[in-house]
């Protein structure tokens, strides 16, 4: 019973963290039809930024203030990174075939990983303990970190805020229009470059929050720790129907839960294999995912 509860708790918290990354994928894919391979690495960079900023700020601020300022700076810098990546690597290729943009995304991911390896010297970096989130609590006899409990609620709040933004603001309306039809919305006077930048800003901000929650549960970060969570989150986005935010969240919780269950079973080596098998089954059986809209190809 306790074992089941601990698996459930870790599945919920993993799911929430994946949800925050998956939203970034789903928003970008919805608008640009691009699998942003670099998104997982942006998530990793956010984690590393926190490591370095908390060490740097800690030298002249009190520990609590250092973490607080650090969190805000991480958020701002990650957003800046996401924005810069879009402007530098994706915008020049807007009229190029989709394959070129995807290759560019892979190139950015390669660059971020290599740069992180250079900065860290390839050594695992210890993530700083965040106040409150890193404390232990006992639920039903299972000891866990506060972050496990906080994650689902934080995700719920953020997702509700995001859906409000998309459904009830001008920017949100523009985003929906661009996702529906790129060229027509341009003709209607929507500045698509601003809208696309906005989606990258939102996605990166959520990835930064996700990295704070995710890495609190893990002892250290290496330059490759972004790529697999990124791919899993992408699977979650496809599962829920790409382009749909509630879909991404539901998909992320399913992926997180199944990963947690498999990691607790004797088949733990197959946890990623299962995630990908899930992806392939969905793509073959129901390519639009749980909540996705059907797109017809025009000749």
């Amino acid at each position: 019973m306790q074992f089941a509860l601990s698996i459930f708790l870790s599945g919920i918290s993993l799911g929430g963290q994946y949800a925050l990354i998956a939203i970034g994928y789903t928003l970008v894919y919805g608008i640009l039809r691009l699998i942003n391979f670099a998104h997982g690495d942006v998530f990793m960079v956010a984690g590393l930024l926190m490591v370095y900023l908390s060490a740097f700020l800690g030298s002249f601020l009190s520990p609590g203030a250092a973490i607080g300022v650090g969190l805000i700076l991480v958020l701002a810098l990650t957003v800046a990174l996401g924005f810069a990546i879009e402007r530098a690597a994706y915008k020049p290729l807007r009229s190029a075939p989709r394959m070129s943009v995807m290759i560019s995304a892979i190139g950015v991911s390669y660059l971020l990983q290599n740069f992180a390896t250079y900065i860290t010297g390839g050594l695992p970096q210890t993530y700083p303990a965040l106040p409150l989130l890193s404390n232990n609590v006992i639920i039903g006899g299972v000891s866990t970190k506060v972050v496990t409990v906080v994650t689902p609620f934080l995700v719920a709040v953020l997702v509700i805020a995001l859906t409000q933004l998309i459904n009830h603001t001008k920017v949100g309306m523009a985003m929906r229009a661009v996702a529906k039809d790129f060229e027509t919305s341009q003709l209607m006077g929507i500045k698509i470059n601003n809208v696309i930048s906005m989606t990258f800003v939102i996605g990166s901000a959520l990835a930064a929050v996700g990295s704070m929650l995710y890495f609190t549960n893990y002892p250290s970060i290496v330059p490759l720790s972004g790529s697999l969570p990124g791919l899993r989150a992408f699977v979650a986005a496809v599962f829920g129907g790409i382009g749909s935010i509630p879909g991404a969240v539901v998909g992320a919780f399913i992926v997180g839960m199944s990963e947690s269950i498999i990691k607790g079973s004797p088949f733990s080596i197959f946890s990623d294999a299962f995630t990908f098998a899930l992806l392939i089954v969905i793509l073959v059986v129901k390519p639009t995912g749980l909540f996705g809209e059907k797109v017809t190809d025009k000749v």
Binding site: Y110, L111, N114, Y118, L231, F276
Partner: protein, 399 residues
Amino acid sequence: MISEKKSKRGVFLALVCVCVLLALTIVLENTLDPIKNTILFTVLKKGAVYALVACSMNLLNGFTGLFSLGQAGFMLLGAYTYAILTIPVDQKAAVYYLFGGSAVGFSLPDLFGGADSPVGLILGVVLALILGGVVAAGVAWLIGLPVLRLKSDYLAIATLGFAEIIRAVFQWEKLGPVTNGANALKNFPTFTSFNVKDASGAVVLRLSTFVAFLIAAICIAVILLLINSSYGRAFKAIREDEVAAEAMGINLAKHKRLSFCISSFFAGVGGGMFAMFANQAQAKTFTTAMTYEILLIVVIGGIGSISGSCIASFLYVAASEWWLRFLDSETQLTSIFGFQLAKPFKVPLLRNGFRMVVFSIIIMIVVLFFRRGLMGDKELPDLLRKRRTAKKKGGGDRG
């Protein structure tokens, strides 16, 4: 008629070039000091292996327009098949010591008289490489059944997923007696086994680089022949426009499957060669990062150009293993252009890992600003021919 003659001359020229290149590898390896020039031969061998894999990926991504990211998975299949089938019987206990011996009780070179005899070595290695390719192609056929129905980026992510699944399966402890679990397979014949030795065991004729080049050249030639056949034209039609191709009577499913299987076959052979190059086969080397590396080679060389892929793979391997090495070591300069410095100057930034940063920046520049890569979709003979006709035209104007 004229164009046919020209293409025949092109083929003849290409054949001569390849023969000269092969002869050159033998000459180079036997005249240069092998210990001082280790890095050169490492680059040449790895370059040959990567050239083959890059060409196989180009066949799929560049010529058929199927964006697949499963190359490392198929290489893994080829490498493991090769290794499992060629580890000599008397070495099996040592390699599989964790699992109390191998479940595969035979070894191909041993069947033909052992890896020490030329016949056993050549037959065994060639058969094992081909079988490695066949296994990869068989698995590709199975994977292709569901996956090839997907389009562009979904296909990419699904094949990437399959490569990850294959990697997980090969690391499974339960399969240990066959795959040696997560441990490396080794002690099988490698490129250096092809060096000819005399009775006392001293090397008389070095052929290791030649063998790598020969296998790669034969495979790439087959790929080229395929691309220039009616199948190749069908592949290109599918790349340009699926709907139009189908309307012209090309069986989409069949040709896509064919392209996928053939590409995987050569990726499997390339994987076997990679195991020969690396002297070991281990599942954890065949990661997604390896697929990305090969994809970047294809992009640098030009998507849809076989000669571009070959040139790019040697450039890529040489740059990453050799020419940019100095970026990774901290350097103290004591003199610049002959001027003695008062105090040693430490070159900034140079530190372990900087090479890869510079390298990925170069790749990003290629991807963003030279989108067509080195060759675009042209081949080497095309470029030469164009220059010749341009010259002729220029001459005509003047005359």
